[in-house]
C-alpha cells in the first residue's frame, strides 16, 4: 500500500506529533508476542550455542584447568578460554585493562567467567560447562565493604573530592553537630530479557553482532578490540531490549565478545544467552554504599557545613565505578544548599562482580545520604523533616551554588513541594497519623515528603553528542535511524514524533528502524536519561536539512518566495497551492534533490574539570517530589505502602503517556531497591540471591494502594532543549525515597520521634523490625 495516498490532506493536525500521548511504537507487537527480541530471531543455519563456565571461588589463582571432559561432552564443538581471544582478552570500558573477557590466571569473584563452551545446543553447552575440573590456589577475599577499613581500602579507580568552603571549620563551630553512618544495598537490574548476543560471521574479518545493549558503539569497539580488527569490520545491531536500566550499558560487552570470537573462529553463527542465575551471578549491579556523614547546623535546622564519605562496593574492576561514584557526590546535595561542604568518594575493590550503571548511576545513593542527614537534624530538633528540607532548599537568586560550583539556575523545587504538600494533604494527614498511632500499639503509620533534583548530562563531556540518519523516499515515507536504543522507555516513538512534527506528516509514515553502528557511528550509550535530549535534537537536525532542501526545491520549481512555503499536515503549501507531501518528495526526487541527511547534536554549555572539582557538568536539572504513607507491623516488620502522591516535571512533555509510564515505573523500581530487593552473599563469597525466587522485585500488589501521579504542567525547560522537553528516564527512580523515609517515620513513632531510626536500606521487614527494636531499646533507657 502506498501509505501517503491515505494521508488526510485536510487535517489540521498531524497524528502523533510532539506533545501527544502516542502509544509505544511496538505496543501492538508486545501484546501479540510478535515483537522480536534477539532470542526470537530466525536462527541462521548451523547456529551454535555458547555457555560460560564460572569460577567457584571468590578469589584465587588458577593452578590448573582441565577441560578435557568438557570437550568430550555430547554436542561440544569447541571450548574457548581467555587465551583464545585473537586481539586482546580485555573488555575494560575505561581502558584500564582490568577486566578480562575470560579470566586466565587470577579469579576475582565467585561466578567470574573462565571459559566458554560452544555446542550444538544450548542445553548441551550448559551441561558440558559443569564438567570442568579447576584447581584454585585460594586467597583471602572481601565481599562486603562494611568489613574493611574503607578509608584505606584498595581502589579500582581514582576517587573524587568535591569541596566548597571549609566544611571542617563550619561543622566545628556549628551550634549542633551529628555524625553517623548509613548502609545502602545494591540492586540487580532484573531486566526481564537477560543478556544475549548472536554473532554471525561475515567475509574477511567481518562479523555482525546482534546484542541486547544500550551501547552498540561500545560493543562494536570491544568486539573489534577483542578480535584485533578495525571497528569497520564489526556491525552491531539492536532493535529492542527487554529492559536495560543500565544493566546493558557495558555488561553486554562480554557476551558479544565471546559470541563474536567463537563465530569467527568456527565460521558459524554463535548465540549466547546465559541462564537467569548465571546472568545475575556474572553481571554487575547497582553499587552498594556505606556513607559516613557529619553535619553542623543551627537550632533552626539550617545546615552550616557537611562532610560526606561515600564508600562504594565496586567489585573487582573499574567498569563505570568512577563516573558512578562521581555522580553520587554530584547528588550529595539533592535540593539543598550547603554553605560549606566536603564530599569524598572511595570506589573500593571487592571480590564481587564489577558493579555498573543502574538508573540514577550513583545519584540515588548520593541523595539518600543527604536525606538521612536532613532526617537526623529533624529528629535532633524535634521538627517535621519537611520543615528542615524546606529550610535548606537551594535559593533561586542566592544560596544556589552546588558543591561542584555550578549555579542552579532553574530551581523550581519550592513550588513543586508547595503544590504537592497541598494536593497530598500532607499536614492534615500528618495529624491524622499521629492520632492513629496513639491508639494503635502494633500497627504504626508513617509519612514522608521528599524532594528531588537530578543533574542531566553525561559528566564525561564528550558523551554528550548524538547522530541521526533520515531518509525520505520518493513516495514520502520516511526512514528514521539514530544512535539511541530502545529498551522500553519509548525513545523510538518520541524521536519519531519529533521527525513527524518536522515534516508535518502522520507518525505512521515514519519508519522506526533498529539501531546499528552501520548507519550512525560513534554513538554514546543510551543512558544518563539523555536519549531523547540528544537523539531528538540530532534527528530534528537531519529532518530540518531535508526540509530545507525541499523548501529550496519548491521555491525554485514553483517560483514562489521561501516564506510562502509552509509545511501543513501531510501537505506543503507552496504559494497558493497545496501539494501532498509525498507528491512533493516525488517531484524532488525527479529533480535530483538529495532526500537523505545526517543530523548531529552536541550539548552546549557543559564542562567539567574533575581535577579541580569545578565546572558546569549538567546542562540542566530535573525536579520532582513525592509523598508516601506506609503502615508497619511492629511485631514482624511487615509493611504496606498505603498511598503515594507524585508531582514530577518533564518540561513541555513530548509524550505525557510515556513520561508518566517512566515515572510510575521508576518509582516502583526505586521502591524495590529501598525495600525488598536484597543482595546476599554467603561466607564463600557466593551471591545467594541470583534468581527471582530469592531476589524480590516489586509485584503489582506492592504498588501503593493509592497512587497519584501528576505531571506539573507549568514548567518548561530552562534551556533550549528539543521542544523544551526534559529528561525523564532516571529522576523518578529517586522519588521512592519518600517510601523509605515514611518507613523510617513509622519506625520512629515507637520512640515518639525522639530518636532517628537510622534505618538502613533495603528496608526489608527484617530491617524494619530490628530498627523498631533498636528505637525501643534507646528510648526505654
Amino acid at each position: 500500500m502506498n501509505k501517503h495516498a491515505t494521508a488526510d490532506l485536510k487535517a489540521t493536525r498531524i497524528l502523533g506529533g510532539v506533545a501527544t500521548d502516542q502509544r509505544h511504537d511496538s505496543a501492538h507487537k508486545h501484546v501479540t508476542g510478535t515483537a522480536i527480541y534477539i532470542d526470537d530471531m530466525p536462527e541462521p543455519a548451523g547456529l551454535l550455542h555458547a555457555c560460560l563456565g564460572l569460577s567457584t571461588v571468590a578469589h584465587g589463582t588458577i593452578r590448573s584447568i582441565d577441560l578435557s571432559a568438557v570437550r568430550a561432552a555430547p554436542g561440544v564443538i569447541d571450548v574457548l578460554t581467555g587465551h583464545d581471544m585473537p586481539g586482546s582478552n580485555d573488555i575494560s570500558p575505561t581502558g584500564r585493562a582490568d577486566e578480562p573477557v575470560l579470566a586466565t590466571d587470577t579469579v576475582h569473584f565467585f561466578g567470574q567467567p573462565l571459559f566458554a563452551v560452544i555446542a550444538e545446543s544450548r542445553e548441551q553447552a550448559r551441561r558440558a560447562c559443569r564438567l570442568a575440573k579447576i584447581d584454585y590456589d585460594e586467597k583471602p577475599f572481601v565481599t562486603d565493604i562494611w568489613d574493611i577499613d574503607r578509608r584505606a581500602g584498595k581502589l579500582v579507580t581514582d576517587p573524587l573530592t568535591l569541596k566548597r568552603g571549609d566544611a571542617a571549620a563550619a561543622i566545628e563551630t556549628a551550634p549542633r553537630r551529628i555524625k553517623g553512618t548509613m548502609r545502602l544495598g545494591g540492586q540487580d537490574h532484573f531486566y526481564l530479557e537477560g543478556q544475549i548476543a548472536l554473532a554471525v560471521p561475515g567475509e574477511d574479518t567481518d562479523v555482525t553482532v546482534f546484542s541486547s545493549t544500550q551501547h552498540p558503539s561500545e560493543v562494536q569497539h570491544m568486539v573489534a578490540h577483542v578480535l584485533g580488527v578495525p571497528s569497520h569490520a564489526v556491525t552491531v545491531e539492536i532493535r529492542r531490549m527487554g529492559g536495560g536500566f543500565g544493566g546493558k550499558e557495558t555488561q553486554g560487552n562480554q557476551f558479544a565478545a565471546i559470541a563474536a570470537a567463537a563465530a569467527k573462529r568456527l565460521g558459524r553463527a554463535v548465540k549466547i544467552r546465559p541462564d537467569r542465575d548465571d546472568d545475575m551471578a556474572a553481571t554487575g549491579k547497582r553499587h552498594d554504599f556505606v556513607i559516613d556523614y557529619e553535619v553542623g547546623f543551627d537550632d533552626e535546622g539550617t545546615i552550616l557545613g557537611v562532610d560526606y564519605f561515600y564508600a562504594a562496593r565496586c567489585g573487582f574492576s573499574s567498569d563505570l565505578s568512577g563516573p558512578v561514584t562521581d555522580r553520587a557526590l554530584f547528588h550529595c546535595d539533592n535540593t539543598y544548599y550547603y554553605p560549606a561542604v566536603r564530599a569524598q568518594s572511595a570506589p573500593l575493590y571487592t571480590n564481587t562482580v564489577s558493579n555498573t550503571a543502574f538508573r540514577g548511576f550513583g545519584g540515588p545513593q548520593g541523595m539518600i545520604g543527604c536525606e538521612r542527614v536532613v532526617d537526623e537534624i529533624a529528629f535532633a530538633l524535634g521538627k517535621d523533616p519537611l520543615e528542615i528540607r524546606r529550610k535548606n532548599f537551594y535559593g533561586t537568586s542566592d544560596r544556589n551554588v552546588t558543591p561542584y560550583h555550578q549555579t542552579v539556575e532553574d530551581n523550581i523545587i519550592h513550588r513543586l513541594v508547595d503544590e504537592l504538600e497541598k494536593s497530598a494533604d500532607y499536614q492534615a494527614r500528618r495529624r491524622a497519623i499521629a492520632d492513629f498511632n496513639a491508639g494503635s500499639p502494633v500497627i504504626k503509620r508513617g509519612l514522608a515528603l521528599t524532594p528531588l533534583k537530578f543533574g542531566i548530562s553525561f559528566t564525561a563531556t564528550h558523551f554528550n553528542q548524538a547522530g541521526a540518519l533520515v531518509h525520505v523516499y520518493a513516495d514520502g515515507s520516511v526512514h528514521l535511524n539514530h544512535g539511541g536504543t530502545e529498551m522500553g522507555q519509548g525513545l523510538y516513538v518520541k524521536i519519531a514524533q519529533i521527525v513527524a512534527e518536522e515534516f508535518q506528516i502522520d507518525i505512521d509514515h515514519v519508519k522506526i528502524t533498529a539501531t546499528t553502528t552501520g548507519k550512525v557511528p560513534n554513538t554514546s550509550a543510551t543512558a544518563a536519561s539523555s536519549g531523547s535530549d540528544l537523539n531528538g535534537m540530532a534527528a530534528q537536525a537531519a529532518a530540518r536539512t531535508i526540509r530545507d532542501r525541499l523548501c529550496d526545491f519548491a521555491a525554485e520549481k514553483y517560483g514562489v518566495p521561501r516564506e510562502q512555503i509552509e509545511f501543513l499536515p501531510n501537505r506543503v503549501r507552496v504559494g497558493n497551492q497545496e501539494i501532498a507531501f509525498g507528491e512533493l518528495t516525488q517531484q524532488a526526487y525527479m529533480a535530483r534533490v538529495q532526500l537523505s541527511a545526517t543530523g548531529f547534536y552536541k550539548t552546549p554549555k557543559v564542562r567539567w574539570d574533575r581535577d579541580k572539582g569545578e565546572g558546569h557538568p549538567f546542562y540542566y536539572f530535573a525536579y520532582g517530589a513525592a509523598c508516601a504513607e506506609v503502615s508497619i507491623d511492629t511485631l514482624t516488620g511487615e509493611y504496606v505502602v498505603e498511598r503515594a502522591d507524585i508531582l514530577h516535571e518533564t518540561g513541555r512533555s513530548l509524550n505525557r503517556a510515556i513520561d508518566i509510564g517512566q515515572i510510575e515505573g521508576g518509582f516502583i523500581q526505586g521502591m524495590g531497591w529501598l525495600t525488598t530487593e536484597e543482595l546476599v552473599w554467603d561466607d564463600k563469597g557466593r551471591l545467594r540471591t541470583h534468581a527471582p525466587s530469592t531476589y524480590k522485585i516489586p509485584l503489582a500488589s506492592d504498588r501503593p494502594k493509592v497512587f497519584n501521579v501528576t505531571l506539573a504542567d507549568w514548567p518548561e525547560a530552562h534551556e533550549p532543549t528539543v521542544h523544551r522537553s526534559k529528561a525523564v528516564g532516571e529522576p523518578p527512580f529517586m522519588l521512592a525515597m519518600s517510601v523509605f523515609h515514611a518507613l523510617s517515620d513509622a519506625v520512629a513513632s515507637v520512640g515518639e520521634h525522639t530518636v532517628c531510626p537510622r534505618l538502613d536500606a533495603p528496608a526489608t521487614p527484617e530491617r524494619v523490625l530490628m530498627a523498631v527494636e533498636r528505637v525501643r531499646a534507646q528510648t526505654a533507657a
Binding site: R23, H24, S26, A27, H28, K29, H30, V31, T32, G33, F190, Y191, L192, E193, G194, R240, M241, G242, G243, D275, R276, S440, V442, I443, M487, G488, Q489, G490, I632, D633, L635, T636, E638, V640, A657, I658, G661, E664, F667, Q669, T676, V680, T689, P692, S693, T694, K696, I697, P698, L699, A700, S701, D702, R703, F707, V709, T764, P765, E766, L769
Partner: protein
C-alpha cells in the same frame, strides 16, 4: 490389562497434536520455542517466578473444560497429555485484530519493553475468562506470578479493569471453539497408559490411580511429578536426571476434595487453586495463606500432596496442617497406611515415604467451634515469596479461660516443619494471658535454633517467631489491628 500407547496427544492452539518423541524432562517452553517456533512465549527465569512464559492449559474437569495459567518453563511437555495448550499466538479479536485483553493493554500503555507482556496478557486472559468484572484484589492476585520491571504495574492494572469494555467473553476465541475442544479432549481420553522412551529417558503417564500404584511397584525409584513446581527446577536449574518420570497430575481420583462434618479430605493432586474454595470456607485462615503461596500459575500447578511429599522445611502447608492434626495416607500397591503428618517429616530431605509409595490423600480436621486457629507467613516480599518463617496456631480455651489444648507448628525454623512442643507445654493449662505468653517465649529456644540465610537472619526468625505468638494472643484477645493489610475487609 491397561493399554499402552507411546505418544502423548494434546491440542496446541487450534491443532490436535500427537508426539512420540518427548524427553521426560523436556519443558513445555522449550517445545514451544525451539520445536514449534512459537516465540511469543518468553523465558525470563526458567523457575516459575517471573511469568514471562505464561500460557494457558485447558483441561477437562468434572465441572467441564477449564483454562488455567501455568508457567511453561517448569511444566513438562509430557504432562500436557490430554490438555489444550493455548499460547499468545492463539489470541485474536473477533475481526482478526487485537483481542480485548491485548487492546486494553495497548490503550492503557501497559507495555514498555514488552518482554513480560505476552505473559501478562495470558494471565489477564485467564482472569477475564473467570471474572469479567474483577476487583483490584482479583487483579493483583491474578498477577502475583508476573513480574514487570518497567511499568510499575499501574497501567496494567488499569487495563485489566477495562478489558470487558473491549469485548465479551462469550464471543471470545476460546468460547467460540469450546465445543470442538471439549469433544477433542474427550476423545483423547482413551484410558491408555502412555510410556515413552527417548534419549535414554523414560516417562510414564499412568491411566488411573490403580495403574499408578502398579507402575510405582514396578519402578519404586521413579520420580513422581505432580505440579512440577519443584521438580521443574531440578531440571532447569540443577540439570538433574529425573528419569524415569511418572506424571500424576492428570489423575482425576487424586483431585477430589471430600468434606465431612469434622474434616476435609484432600487428594494428593489437588492444586492450591482447587483446594482454596473448600479449605478457605471450612478453615478460613487457609484462604489468605493460599493467596500468598507462589503466583497464580504456581497455585494452578502446585499440589498440596507435592508440597508435603517434597519435604521442604519451608513448604507452606505442612505447619498449618500439623497444627490441625492432619494425617497423610500413603499407598503402595493395594496397601495403605495413615500417619500423623508431623511424623512424615523425619529430617532435612528425609521423609517417611518408602520406595513405591505415593501420597494419596491428606485428611484435615476442621477446627471446632470456639477454637482459635491462625496461620501467619513471613516473607521479604508479601506475595509470591518463599517463607522466611511461618507459624500456625491452634488453640482451644477452657471455660475458665485457661489453655485447654494448643498445637503450634512452624516452618522455616528447623530442618523440617516442626511443632513447638516446649512452647505448647509452657502454655498448656495456663490462663490465656499476656503474662503466660511472655513467660512462654523462652521456650522457643528449646524448640528452635533457626539458621541465617538469604531470606532472613536467625535473629529475625527467632524474634519474629516469638512475636507471632504475641500477635496470635492479641488477635484472640483484643480488637486491635495486629496485621498490616493490603485489602481492607469488604
Amino acid at each position: 490389562m491397561t493399554e499402552i500407547r507411546s505418544e502423548i496427544r494434546f491440542m496446541l492452539n487450534g491443532v490436535e497434536t500427537a508426539l512420540s518423541d518427548v524427553r521426560a524432562d523436556e519443558t513445555l517452553l522449550d517445545y514451544l520455542r525451539l520445536r514449534r517456533a512459537l516465540r511469543g512465549t518468553k523465558e525470563g527465569c526458567a523457575e516459575g517466578d517471573c511469568g514471562a512464559c505464561t500460557v494457558l492449559v485447558g483441561r477437562l474437569t468434572p465441572d467441564g473444560l477449564i483454562y488455567e495459567s501455568v508457567n511453561a518453563c517448569i511444566r513438562f511437555l509430557g504432562s500436557v497429555n490430554g490438555c489444550h495448550v493455548v499460547t499468545v499466538e492463539h489470541l485474536k479479536g473477533q475481526d482478526g485484530g487485537l483481542h480485548p485483553v491485548q487492546q486494553a493493554m495497548v490503550d492503557f500503555h501497559g507495555s514498555q519493553c514488552g518482554f513480560c507482556t505476552p505473559g501478562f496478557v495470558m494471565s489477564l486472559y485467564a482472569l477475564w475468562m473467570r471474572r469479567t468484572d474483577p476487583t483490584e484484589a482479583d487483579i493483583e492476585k491474578a498477577l502475583q506470578g508476573n513480574l514487570c520491571r518497567c511499568t510499575g504495574y499501574q497501567p496494567i492494572v488499569k487495563a485489566a479493569r477495562a478489558i470487558s469494555s473491549y469485548g465479551r467473553v462469550e464471543t471470545d476465541v476460546l468460547a467460540s471453539e469450546r465445543a470442538r475442544v471439549e469433544a477433542t479432549l474427550n476423545a483423547l481420553k482413551d484410558g491408555a497408559r502412555v510410556e515413552i522412551g527417548q534419549d535414554g529417558q523414560r516417562l510414564v503417564i499412568p491411566a488411573s490411580v490403580e495403574d499408578l500404584a502398579a507402575v510405582l511397584e514396578a519402578e519404586p525409584e521413579a520420580t513422581i511429578v505432580a505440579g512440577s513446581t519443584d521438580v521443574g527446577l531440578w531440571v532447569t536449574k540443577f540439570m538433574r536426571e529425573i528419569t524415569p518420570v511418572v506424571f500424576i497430575a492428570h489423575l482425576d481420583e487424586l483431585h477430589t476434595v471430600t468434606e465431612t462434618d469434622g474434616a476435609v479430605s484432600v487428594g494428593a493432586c489437588v492444586s492450591y487453586t482447587e483446594a482454596f474454595s473448600a479449605l478457605s470456607r471450612r478453615i478460613p485462615a487457609f484462604g489468605p495463606l493460599i493467596d500468598r503461596i507462589g503466583g497464580e500459575q504456581v497455585r494452578n500447578m502446585g499440589t498440596i500432596g507435592g508440597n508435603i511429599a517434597n519435604g521442604s522445611p519451608i513448604g507452606d502447608t505442612p505447619p498449618p496442617l500439623i497444627a490441625l492434626g492432619a494425617t497423610v495416607t500413603l499407598r503402595k500397591g493395594e496397601s495403605r497406611r495413615t500417619i500423623a503428618l508431623e511424623d512424615f517429616f523425619i529430617d532435612y530431605g528425609k521423609q517417611d515415604r518408602r520406595p513405591g509409595e505415593f501420597v494419596e490423600r491428606i485428611d484435615v480436621p476442621v477446627p471446632g467451634e470456639g477454637t482459635h486457629y491462625a496461620v501467619y507467613k513471613l516473607t521479604k516480599r508479601r506475595d509470591e515469596d518463599i517463607t522466611a518463617a511461618l507459624g500456625a496456631f491452634h488453640l482451644t480455651l477452657a471455660a475458665d479461660g485457661t489453655v485447654a489444648a494448643v498445637r503450634i507448628a512452624y516452618g522455616g525454623m528447623a530442618a523440617t516443619p516442626k511443632r513447638a512442643t516446649a512452647v505448647e507445654a509452657a502454655l498448656a493449662g495456663k490462663p490465656w494471658s499476656s503474662e503466660t505468653v511472655e513467660a512462654a517465649l523462652d521456650a522457643y529456644g528449646k524448640d528452635f535454633a533457626p539458621i541465617s540465610d538469604m531470606r532472613a537472619s536467625a535473629d529475625y526468625r527467632m524474634l519474629a517467631a516469638r512475636n507471632l505468638l504475641r500477635r496470635f494472643h492479641l488477635e484472640t484477645t483484643s480488637g486491635l489491628p495486629v496485621q498490616v493489610s493490603r485489602y481492607e475487609a469488604a
